[in-house]
Subunit: 261 residues, 3 copies
């Protein structure tokens, strides 16, 4: 039986996530459910987009990723299911949330979730499609319902994308931006490691500070700032055993400049 992952902004103190899991257990008792996170700041689609793109690649092919951060719930925004090149599926609102994961694992087929036979009820709550549409649709996929049965096809290039300022080559380097921070206060840029020089040294600048590129946190003394390639594959600004976000006063959207040393 397939794995279903859940990523929402529903938090952990209410019963919303549990209701989704109850619906899944009712439709697909054998499916294995894994939480990505439910602590996305309310309605922060960009935060959720980054978490999905960093977690999804590590799951087995065929995994069904359900992501629900959905400020437009109850409006005309589309609900979609997507089959990707890896064989995994994405299920959620078409608001850009899924677009980061699709860069690494492009969509082969997309459908709009318009067939109420695969919903929990044909009168879904206007405010909780996670429970009434997305969770049951994912459970039906896990049981073997084909993507095509869920609703009419949508052209993959019609999906909503979330446009972040992409990394731009400049003389002797690159310019990008902080796309996310994490629990440790690391500042994660949108510059992928593959754009760095293969062997050479490099440095990163943010907010007037220039930091050498290193291999790991412990390459500098505790409390000192550095740049490195994080485990997600992007250039990251960190403080060894510290919090770069507060130490450098930086945050999401700030410009990051990479220079070959």
């Amino acid at each position: 039986m397939r794995v279903i992952t859940l990523l929402t902004d529903f938090g952990l103190e209410d019963g919303y996530v549990a209701a989704m899991k109850g619906v899944i257990a009712s439709v697909a008792p054998e499916a294995r459910v894994v939480d990505v996170t439910h602590l996305v700041p309310p309605q922060d689609v960009a935060f959720a987009r980054f978490r999905l793109l960093t977690a999804a690649p590590f799951f087995p092919p065929g995994t069904i990723h359900v992501a629900v951060v959905d400020p437009g719930v109850g409006t005309a925004r589309r609900a979609v299911a997507i089959r990707c090149r890896s064989g995994s599926c994405l299920v959620g609102p078409d608001n850009g949330l899924l677009s980061g994961a699709l860069e690494a694992d492009p969509p082969l087929a997309v459908v709009e979730l318009s067939d109420p036979r695969f919903w929990r009820t044909d009168t879904p709550s206007a405010t909780f499609h996670g429970r009434d549409i997305f969770a049951p649709v994912a459970a039906h996929l896990a049981r073997g319902v084909t993507l095509e049965a869920l609703g009419p096809a949508v052209p993959p290039d019609g999906l909503v994308t979330l446009d972040l300022r992409p990394p731009t080559p400049v003389a002797g380097g690159l310019e990008g931006a902080v796309q996310a921070t994490d629990r440790f206060g690391n500042l994660i840029s949108n510059v992928p490691a593959v754009l760095l020089p293969g062997n050479g040294a490099w440095r990163a600048s943010i907010g007037g500070r220039t930091l050498p590129g290193h291999r790991t946190y412990a390459d500098v003394p505790p409390g000192e700032a550095l740049a490195l390639v994080g485990s997600h594959g992007f250039v990251e600004i960190a403080v060894h055993r510290g919090d770069a976000r507060s130490a450098l006063g930086a945050s999401v959207g700030d410009r990051v400049e990479i220079r070959w040393a």
Copy 2:
């Protein structure tokens, strides 16, 4: 194998919930365990009661719901297991915590958990019945032990209930109260949607503010307050993309007045 859900005020930073799951895995290795929430404010029985009643209906029949918010642990308060009309079971202290879920799914049989053969040890911790009594009892139920084997029968009408001021009809409407808030700052009343007029318009007042009844958050501009029927089936006061609790300065227990428009 059956689903066991867990709802506690044990939090997520300690190892208490994990100890309960270890005990369950030791007794019923095949049982599937789902968290409802562990972030109930310490000893807040009313909060826990609402989370259980909103999550339980979405699980498959036969699910065993374990709820442990237990200020009286180690005293003479009863520990009980209950079989409900749906076939699901509730396991926990008899302190009103279970009473909300029982309104929708009435008790058919109740027993007091007095037989130590189904506990983890016959000398249970005086402070952690979750690990030593409730979790192992639930695991034995999941393996097929009958409810009746767990201890002597208790009359269902002898269970402790948590009395909230019930919604009261008044001329042209209803009066109720806020029974819970959630992560988004929504104010959830105890007025069920079934008491609203079938087709007509309605409005809700709280703290001197009167708000029109709508279908979904996006029916008003961002930042604006509204009333609607939440996904739990109760009238809710919300702010579109905002936090009604702080915007309106309201909280649990505040009076909510519903009027037909």
Copy 3:
């Protein structure tokens, strides 16, 4: 299939824990994964040590406990897997984190995790061994790979331990220290119940306050402080329905004096 537990300081808002679970699902789809906690304060090895030692004993023999609080990731610190007397295994960095659990369940065999055949990749991230080394190694153990295959043997007495001031007998009692606090503000000492007199009364002092030893919280009125044996088996200072940490202004490391009454 065996149980794998996870204990980290990765938090719940990012996708780090999910990435570990994705790796486990890829290698050992049938393994059952249980979270101990991911809310260890960043790099707080002592906090993590206590949570592991209180949770591990309740899991079935053969469980694989993965614990990753790893300030030295990417340096020369050893990564190890340990088979304990109970048949359970511990997997993590050799930095003292595992040493508390080993006091109750001594190591029979220890290996250094140096064979990349059991890693996710032979070029692991320098900063995320949880995903690239510890999770896949645990999954291979769950599938039946022997501990000895994972790398060269290490002498068990060469493992790093975390030295806390041990409880010391004094005239008419014992002296110890607060080793941890929990969500409820309870102050948990490192004095085990087995060192208390079998039947006699006792009292505990902390920060100039002397408190009688009781059986459970409800033995004193709400708001009053007491000492008792907590569910973890250590002497604990608590406030009934209150928070001893803030009420007494005490914290980890503070001296606790036990006297026979």
